[in-house]
Amino acid sequence: MTSAELLGVFESHDAFLKVIEQAGSRKVTIREIFSPVPDHHAVERLAGRKSPIRYVTAAGGIAGLVAGIALALLTARVWNLVVGGKPVMSIVPVVVVGFELTILFGALATLAGLFFFGRLPFVRFPVGAYREEFSLDRFGIWLECEVSQREPIERWLRESGAVRVERIGRPDAAEGIS
């Protein structure tokens, strides 16, 4: 698929939120949003797109559980520490180690996933579509769509309240500023 990238610049917060809401039905992908202040309304509207981090967390947690239980059981087996006449390989005491490593590995995996999917750190900041006004008083939405859909999407952005629409990352970007 040949894709095109567009940047919608908004003065109105309501218009900005409305475009985020409607983006799914327009078959466009939101690459990034820009806001001068932390905006949980926008984040909530984006939340419909489920984060892949949960899979990383689950994988980390399961790996931690297995590692913790294996560590405790194998250590006991190698060293044969008999305590209170209990069997060397018992499930009761290893639950604690398994639980602790589930939390530890789950948390570390989440952190790693956060960095990876959040594209942190921003070594190339500002990204291509960033404009200084997004740190002042404007909101921005960086969209990706099929090239054939570019003009209807541009029209939709303007009709939705965008004060400016730019074409991003293409040789014709400059002439596309409207």
Partner: protein, 439 residues
């Protein structure tokens, strides 16, 4: 929306009215409770009725004190999402009189059912002094009164802070015990000064409520439950009991906030996001409860001392006794089921699904308390099959349902005398100013 507009919006729907459907359901639950009690006393095994009353008592006392404790925890932690739940949690103080009545009835009439009361001769040393009826009675009633008094003091300042934030005319539409108790003598005073004074007192009282709760309910756990088998002991038992109360109360809070969402007009203040936060907290308490359970079990398992392991084996392994089914069901209900389901965001945001999970959590805690109390009071001897437990268990379950019915009815009466949201709380206003007020 300004602060004044928000206060008027909270008060616009008038005093809390849960609706006829809710009241009828509670009346039906009370009827079931009465039937259960009758079943226990007249058709069950010996002491089945007192087992039901004691189980109802330990749960009602726990819910009554934990409701106010949850509010104190939200104050201590400056919890933002929790502000919308503060008043509902505080209304569970309605369980306190229910618990007190049950305690007085049990101490006055049911004390003879205590296993150690008949056979105190074999107790020696400090235990013989500790488990003496007069001393025991005094401790039980005293601990309840102490815990409830501190909770009510906290409740007083919490409600009064809100009444002090409300203009005089708007207060007039409210009546009821909480209004008369905490909203009096405000006319002619500098209301803002009074509001700030009350907020300051709450900051001081919140940690005191938490500490008094931990101490008194540890003692109550020892005296009301653990002492039923006077030879068995676990220093963790008190903590295991009081954390279970908090867990069950959190689950009840989730249910009440979902069921009364529309009748109490909570939609403007409690969003699916807040519900998800409460469910996450419920999940956390599920883990803490399991942590206390496991810490106690692990210690007994490692120690492998006959006087400790007998208590656990009787309830979980002995095939000649009917208890193990209830024990394992309890473990599934308070740990496995909520642990798995509360991992899912959809469950946490759905009122229906969260209600189901919460009901299972409360059932799990009920069964945990039952399995700690019933084997000692009922004295079912081996060999006995599961059917020996049908009537006593049904009696205790129905009685607990009745206790919930009475407690929630009284709670709703308490709620009628105060605004359903903490309108005198600065954080409540800050949260809604930040999040934007919902329609």
């Amino acid at each position: 929306m300004t602060r004044d507009e928000r206060i008027r919006k909270v008060l616009a729907s008038g005093p809390a009215d849960p609706g006829k459907g809710f009241v009828l359901t509670m009346v039906l639950m009370i009827a079931l409770g009465a039937a259960g009690l009758g079943l226990g006393f007249f058709a069950g095994a010996a002491n089945a009725g007192w087992t039901s009353i004691l189980t109802g008592l330990v749960l009602a006392a726990g819910i009554g004190a934990s409701g106010v404790l949850i509010s104190a925890i939200f104050t201590l932690t400056n919890a933002r999402f929790g502000r919308a739940y503060v008043r509902l949690a505080e209304s569970f103080a309605g369980f306190m009189p229910v618990a007190l009545v049950l305690a007085i009835v049990f101490v006055a009439l049911g004390g003879t059912s205590l296993p150690w009361a008949h056979d105190a001769g074999h107790l020696t040393g400090g235990k013989a002094v500790w488990l003496r009826r007069g001393f025991w009675d005094l401790r039980v009633i005293g601990a309840l009164l102490l815990s409830f008094s501190v909770s009510i003091a906290y409740l007083y300042y919490s409600i009064r802070r809100d009444w002090a934030a409300i203009p005089g005319k708007l207060r007039e539409t409210y009546s009821g015990i909480a209004r008369a108790f905490a909203g009096r003598n405000l006319d002619g005073k500098d209301q803002e000064t009074e509001r700030m004074r009350c907020a300051g007192r709450l900051d001081v009282l919140a940690p005191i409520v938490a500490m008094v709760y931990a101490i008194t309910f540890t003692m109550l756990g020892f005296d009301l439950i653990m002492a039923l088998d006077p030879l068995w002991y676990s220093t963790l038992f008190g903590a295991w009991y009081f954390i279970g109360n908090l867990f069950a109360t959190m689950a009840l809070l989730a249910i009440v906030s979902i069921v009364l969402h529309r009748p109490l007009g909570l939609g403007a203040w409690i969003t699916p996001s807040h519900r998800s936060d409460l469910a996450t907290l419920l999940f956390a308490f599920c883990l803490v409860n399991a942590d206390f359970f496991w810490s106690q079990y692990l210690t007994i398992w490692y120690g492998n001392l006959p006087e400790e392991t007998g208590y656990v084996m009787k309830r979980t392994l002995d095939g000649d006794l009917p208890w193990r089914v209830v024990s394992w069901l309890s473990l599934v209900a308070f740990l496995a089921f909520p642990f798995i389901l509360l991992l899912f965001r959809r469950v946490k945001r759905s009122g229906f699904l969260l209600s189901i999970v919460s009901i299972v959590c409360i059932s799990g805690i009920f069964m945990a308390r039952y399995i700690e109390i019933a084997p000692e009071l009922l004295g079912i001897a081996a060999p006995a099959r599961l059917d020996a437990l049908y009537v006593p268990f049904a009696s205790a379950l129905l009685t607990f349902i009745g206790v919930l019915g009475v407690g929630l009815l009284v709670s709703m009466r308490v709620l009628r005398g105060m605004p359903v949201m903490p309108v005198g709380d600065d954080i409540f206003h800050a949260v809604h100013a930040d999040e934007g007020d919902h329609s």
